[in-house]
């Protein structure tokens, strides 16, 4: 009985040790993976911030005005509006 208990204790100890070792290895591996993902997320977020800022800068009204002016567009005035096909009721507005 005693030797059986001893054997069981030894087997349990070895199994526990192996389990802990495996667990530790897995945790370390996952921690490393997570650290890489966090770093990647941080980098991508930073890039996204920069791109959003650049987009906002490029799309600011003053920039669009300059592009529009280069191509000969002028601000739309109501007197430029022409009702198309006034007799019919359907259809969306169309641009000449």
């Amino acid at each position: 009985m005693k030797s059986t208990l001893t054997v069981l204790a030894v087997v349990l100890s070895i199994a526990s040790f192996a389990g802990m070792l495996r667990l530790k290895t897995d945790v370390e591996s996952l921690a490393g993976k997570r650290a890489r993902l966090v770093a990647e997320h941080s980098r991508l977020r930073e890039e996204k911030q920069v791109l959003e800022a650049e987009l906002a800068h490029l799309a600011q009204p003053a920039t669009l005005h300059r592009f529009a002016a280069k191509r000969g567009y002028v601000p739309l005035a109501t007197t430029m509006l022409v009702p198309m096909n006034p007799e019919a009721g359907g259809g969306d507005g169309m641009v000449e």
């Binding site: 100890s13 959003e52 009204p61 259809g91």
Partner: protein, 615 residues
Amino acid sequence: MAWWNKPKRGAETPKPFAFQRKGQPVQRHRVKVRHQQGYRVPERAEVYGKGVQLRAMVVVFALCLLMGSMAVQLAYVAVMPATEPRVSIREMPKEALRRGDIYDRNGVLLATTLKTYSLYADPKRVLDANEIARAVPKVLPDVKAQRIRRLLADPSRRFVWLKRRLTPAEAQQVHTLGLPGLGFREEFVRVYPQQKVASHVLGAVDVDSNGLAGVERKFNDSLRKGEDLQLAIDVRAQDILASSVKEVLDKSEAKSGWGVVMDARTGEIVAMVSLPDYDPNHFGNYPDEARFNRAVLASYEMGSTFKIFTLAQGLAAGHITPATQIDCREPIHIGRYTIKDYHAKGKVLTATEIIRYSSNIGASKIADMGGPEEQQDFMRKLGMLQPLDIGVAEVGPVRYPDNWGRIQTFTISFGHGMMVTPMHLVAAVAALTTDGYYRVPSVVKGGSGQPSHKVVDMRTVRDVRDLMRDVVTSGSGRNAQVAGYDVGGKTGTAEKATAHGYSGTKNVVSFVAAVPMEQPKYVTLVMLDEPKRGYHTGGLAAAPAVGQFIQRMGMLAGLQPDMGKVAAERLALERKAGVRHTTAAKPHAVAMQDRAQPQPRGEVHEAFRAAGIVD
């Protein structure tokens, strides 16, 4: 007898240990001595008797305890649900320090925070300060060698900034130098990609990301926590208002100009401009004059725009109707003051005509019907007697007479003797033209959150709308007319107060408008400080700017123009210019269906056919 002391079968019974007591183990060091004395050599088990067994059991028990706890721990890990990993202190603190972004009402980015690198030196670790003083200025020209030498002269210091906020290219160049004692620290820099657009709303931050002005200062705490902020500002409206004010500012050579656009139904400030303005990316480079937000921080005598309130008060109290006739033939003499009209008509005017011709005499007489207390109470309801917090750090004062008597009632009736900010004026006009409820204006999307309160009833609102519309169709606000839109408004021209009384040549001119007048959606105010002759009234300088703003912003804001009126205006313009278009040679135009006005289509089509625009 214990099993290990039992004699072997057939063997002579050995002499037992004389000193061995029953049940006690044999001590190792005595075995050899006793063996020499003729005693039997004890077996191994006899030597490590019960005492050894006890120790072994203790060790086994300890091991079992250890393994058991490990097993429990394993079971706990296996069975319990995974928890969110705690953020490492090394990973995230800088992200947590990132200041929140600011967006306009449509989600356009107005302010954000980007990572940058700042260069520092550790004088103790510097091997050759002269080398750093020679090399660094070559890649960073604005860092002077003399300054570097001075900073590095004291080796007891462990940290000195050489330059903050380097570009990535600059940081790489410095890094390539490979000089010991230099280092980089990651920092965050506030960036305003729209540059000057909405600068006075946004404000700016200092080098340590503390808000200095505008919403950056007002919402400093929440922004520092990383919370984003969405404003009611629309960058399109903001830009159009700025360009409209700028255009008339340049023409009129005024010292400054400012404007406000408010969503009349919600109290949201859609645009707020104060020129000259500044680029918040370089806040420190601009003078105080450019940083000064005239739309909320400065208070003025508003002039004739106040007549809207005088008429509304009289209408609400039942003293007058739009048709009530007031004798405006003679100036009013009260005390040492004489109240007269700028455009004297010298006749009896109706209430409508008093607004149309901006009669000071008429406004004074209407205000006198209610007296000082009624006027003061009405102004209080319109929020004119207390500073206005709209969500930016700047809150301008209001000034009104301590002794509010009859003379003060007369002068306040036409906008003198009381000073409020432009924002006060806009909020009050919105209340009188929308639904009669006063709403605290706010630059934050969703409004101020403060409850609205009733000022006047809808009958008064309708009358005020008619009066303001009449000013634009027949009065001093004609320059604000826009084809297709029913614009209503009121001009204001106030002489500036000087040390020697009111100046006869320096004016603050204004025009406040609501559009569309049938059910106002936006209230717009433009003001100019000291425009030159030819632009010296609200009708000449400010009204065109408001008209231009409505012209450009109307369709962007979803205000459908009345196509019948547009066609008529267009026809009139083309006839005036003597232009005839054929179908093949029509001017560039955006064509749209007029769904809101199905009835005039035929007439419009006929008009265009008559003009040769369409077949």
